[in-house]
């Protein structure tokens, strides 16, 4: 009963490097989301996906790329990491007919 899993849990990288954060859910939820959490800002939506091959920008999409070739996976890529992208990243999923979101354990990313 894994539910929704994120990997890695912790990541340290350097400015300019490409980083991919993984998210996998076993519920066959239609919707998947990526948030970043920073002190004082709560949870801010980066990208979301309503179904496989359908993605859309959230509040803070700049510097991030997503894809969703399969329903269960929703990777988030930082094409060229910057220090301002140091944050905790949460992936979430939700069913088509309910709006409850189920969050993964998060990835703590540090960009040096």
């Amino acid at each position: 009963d894994a539910g929704i899993t994120q990997s890695p849990r912790y990541k340290i990288t350097e400015t300019g490097r490409q980083v991919t954060l993984m998210c996998h859910q076993t519920w066959s939820h239609s919707y998947m989301f990526w948030y970043r959490q920073d002190l004082g800002h709560g949870l801010r939506l980066i990208y979301y996906s309503a179904a496989a091959d359908i993605t859309d920008k959230g509040e803070v999409p700049d510097g991030y790329v997503v894809s969703r070739s399969k329903t269960e996976n929703f990777p988030l890529t930082l094409e060229s990491a910057t220090r301002s992208q140091t944050s905790v990243y949460f992936c979430a999923s939700g069913g088509q007919w309910e709006s409850i979101q189920y969050f993964g354990a998060g990835t703590r990313l540090s960009v040096l």
Binding site: Y35, H41, G42, S99, I100, F103, G106
Partner: protein
């Protein structure tokens, strides 16, 4: 765009005292959700309110949705150390109801 605000940002209470956090939206909401995040953890769904003036209880937690559906509150009676964490409210950001805008959260500390 839609904004969701919460007050207070932080609250320190003695164990056994009551606690209330308030959530205000810049727009009328079709529903509102509350999530709890324990320190070092991930947000976990608590409840969803849909009707104007709705009040729901979960043991010592009482949730209320305002008559105008622009505000909400969470009240905890006789706090316990297990109540420690950050409480977020979230409102739909679009008509589809699957994307939510999260408030910045209220961080609750309970002193034993």
């Amino acid at each position: 765009g839609q904004q969701v605000m919460q007050i207070p940002q932080y609250q320190h209470v003695q164990e056994g005292e009551d606690f209330t956090t308030y959530c205000n939206s810049s727009t009328t909401l079709s529903n509102i959700q509350w999530y709890k995040q324990r320190p070092g953890g991930h947000p976990v769904f608590l409840i969803q309110l849909v009707k104007s003036g709705e009040v729901k209880k979960q043991k010592r937690l009482t949730f209320q949705f305002g008559e105008a559906k622009k505000n909400s509150s969470l009240h905890i009676t006789a706090t316990q150390t297990t109540d420690v964490g950050t409480y977020f409210c979230a409102g739909p950001s679009d008509n589809y109801g699957q994307n939510f805008v999260f408030g910045p959260g209220t961080r609750l500390s309970v002193l034993p």
